[in-house]
Symmetry: C2
Subunit: 435 residues, 2 copies
């Protein structure tokens, strides 16, 4: 067998159906895919390139299933204030100034940060989405991008214009582009920014394109109230009624769900992106995640934007998801390490439209991260699953491989100019972040 | 002015009474103390050594106000199980095997990990406390160590013997030793491991020694019940009755407090060490921290032991404390960045008996950490307080200075053999961690 890449001397967190761990194993990569992962190197194996994992961990790349990457531009700009003031007095005024160039560099910064913390795929929802597609294409990461058929503003005024055509174009240009590294969903920002007719139109559009929908659902109690007022039913119910849930749905937040809402989501096979840092930081509340998992709903994890987090660090979300719900329910046996790692890897991959990644097993795409465990906080070396969830930091990610390509090695990017990204963001922030 | 050390080119989070931030400033260190911190370098300033902060952040060293450092030896060994099984089936059997040498190396590992994450002082409660004092003395860190007058086990049997003399000896040998870097408190493990008489004896001993008490209080609902059964009152009430609260008290956890308990703690001027990761992970519950702070109680932060965390990463505790209580109370204006940073620095220093550290201001001991912010997750550069709480990781700590001595620079220890620590812990874990 002739490999493109051989990884050796690693404990492998496979995230396969048994969540099995391979001790001191080998991973073979050929033609962008994993062709074996095991304790023994198959006989007569040749390879073009070899990486020594130095006794560390290999695991599937993390999937950040809900983000607004370019909001890195507003990082640490407005914190510890009421949600309305945060949004209307701080975030919106800056977003009104954003150009396509700003969004490009903000997204590049977000991607650089995510790659450095082990993220190999993410779902993004923002404006100037052509620029986001460009950043994804250039950097080698994978992404689910979405485009809204409803334009909210025209001439600075809230209009909510139905412009489905732009979404069709976007889908045709980018879906499965970048060697299959981009998937395109239809964006429904939320039920409160749409109305019954535009919800119906967006759902129909997604069905026609044979793709999914990325939506914010029930993040706050304010949304619970507005949905009752506007639609006479919950956000989930109006989504079901208008056909939104008849396609693959990636629903961010889902903090304030009734039992019936949860049952609808389960029945419709929706995925829920849990964003613990953002939900806590904005005071939105705590989602009923253990119940969702118990019902068999596909729950994944996201960082949300860096303006409400304030980073894109999936290791923090994994750790927080594992800890938070144990404490709230006063039950240390909830949200076990393997469950939470699955949320941060394969569940996320499925949710954002890449079902051929998120596991280290034969035939899956070679999206792999290596963790350097030769540091005090990893000693003595015990259970790899616990280690990844409870001890690891994002900065412990040493190497990132996507579709078999080495994107980062020894924490240095192979093809991304990190210095230029930092320089450009620093420069444009001088214009944007003037109070 | 002739300095031992000049730090330049840093934004300084002072944690002074106004929580002021100095932009692009200088810090002068002379005779182990901070002699100035400001935007301008005083005229005619000479220095023996200079550190360029490279546009990063300087802040007071973090204070880990509750830990059992040597429990690093049980890191990632037993997770996601019920508290009783965790303790009785996993932790106690290993602790029964621990030798003084094990505790020394476990503590050395814990100290190495803490230093690497910006901790300059910690409070520790464990066994073989002479070995803990030795590790503190050798490494240059500061610590509050405690010694129990009650020995729980003799010949493997629970005896609860009152052996105050050992505590007096320990106090005399170590209090203010290591050039003042060690303080000694009396240990009261908990009200459930003591009885009314031994609580009284311990309180009297602390008063006679003119020192404080380090105690676990109301970590679990089981303790609430046992106190009601054993004493007919809450743990706080029996502590007040027996004089435990008449000396400076460092009380870890305090998760399940009645209004009256909180009022007693406030009136007695007790400090509370909040351990959010451990309380969540063990399913203990969520302490009423915003209320404690609102009442004026001195609340600080701790990691607890690495067996229930599973690291000694104070940046995680700071981040978690800031996020958790906003989410629980659904109020994003609680636990603001400056409040939480104060908990992790000066409040902790006061609580563990070092009131001359925890701020970067003239006359305070030079316990300073530098954070390297030239990384994607710090761009663009905005509010330094938000940055430290919401964006920073432990691994961003670049330099650690304690009493003016450079303990770590560019993430490399100046006088600690990290490789030997990792080697020794790896070796002894083979004997200890056999199931």
């Amino acid at each position: 067998m002739n490999l493109d890449l051989l990884i050796k001397n690693v404990d492998i967190i496979t995230m396969d159906d048994q969540n099995s761990v391979i001790h001191n194993g080998f991973i073979g990569v050929s033609d962008r895919k994993i062709c074996f992962a095991g304790e023994k190197l198959p006989e007569n194996t040749g390879f073009k390139k070899e990486i020594d994992g130095k006794g560390g961990l290999a695991m599937p790349g993390l999937v950040n299933a809900h983000s607004h990457s370019a909001m890195t531009l507003m990082r640490n700009y407005a914190d510890d204030i009421a949600l309305e003031s945060w949004l209307f007095d701080n975030i919106f005024p800056i977003e009104a100034k954003l150009t396509d160039r700003d969004v490009y560099w903000g997204t590049m910064l977000g991607i650089a940060e995510m790659l450095k913390s082990g993220v190999t795929a993410f779902a993004d929802m923002y404006m100037f989405m052509d620029e986001v597609a460009r950043a994804v294409t250039e950097t080698g990461i994978k992404a689910n991008l979405c485009k809204s058929p409803v334009q909210f503003f025209e001439g600075g005024e809230l209009k909510r214009l139905d412009k489905s055509q732009g979404t069709v174009d976007y889908y045709n240009r980018y879906h499965n582009s970048a060697e299959g590294r981009i998937k395109v969903f239809v964006e429904i920002h939320s039920t409160y920014m749409f109305n019954e007719q535009t919800l119906r139109n967006a759902a129909l559009l997604a069905r026609q394109l044979n793709t999914g929908i990325h939506i914010h659902l029930l993040e706050t109690t304010a949304e619970v109230e507005s949905s009752k007022k506007d639609y006479g039913m919950t956000s989930i119910e109006i989504c079901e009624k208008t056909g939104v849930l008849d396609v693959p749905v990636l629903a961010a937040h889902c903090v304030h769900m009734t039992d019936s809402d949860l049952e609808i989501m389960r029945r419709k096979g929706c995925s829920i992106a849990h964003n613990p840092s953002s939900n806590l930081k904005l005071g939105s509340g705590i989602a009923r995640v253990p119940e969702m998992i118990g019902m068999g709903i596909n729950v994944c994890l996201g960082t949300d934007g860096a303006a409400s987090n304030n980073n894109l660090n999936m290791f923090e979300e994994i750790n927080l998801a594992a800890l938070l719900h144990k404490g709230v329910a006063m039950n240390p046996q909830l949200m076990k390490a393997d469950t939470v790692l699955k949320m941060g890897t394969y569940n996320g991959a499925r949710a954002i439209g890449f079902d051929d990644t998120g596991k280290i097993s034969e035939g899956m795409k070679a999206d792999i991260i290596l963790i350097d465990t030769d540091k005090p906080h990893f000693y003595p070396k015990n259970n790899p699953l616990s280690t990844a969830v409870y001890s690891a930091q994002a900065s412990d990610v040493d190497t990132v491989i996507i579709d078999g390509n080495i994107i980062m090695q020894n924490r240095v990017f192979t093809g991304i100019d990190e210095e230029k990204i930092k320089y450009e963001v620093h420069s444009l922030s001088k214009r944007l972040l003037v109070r």
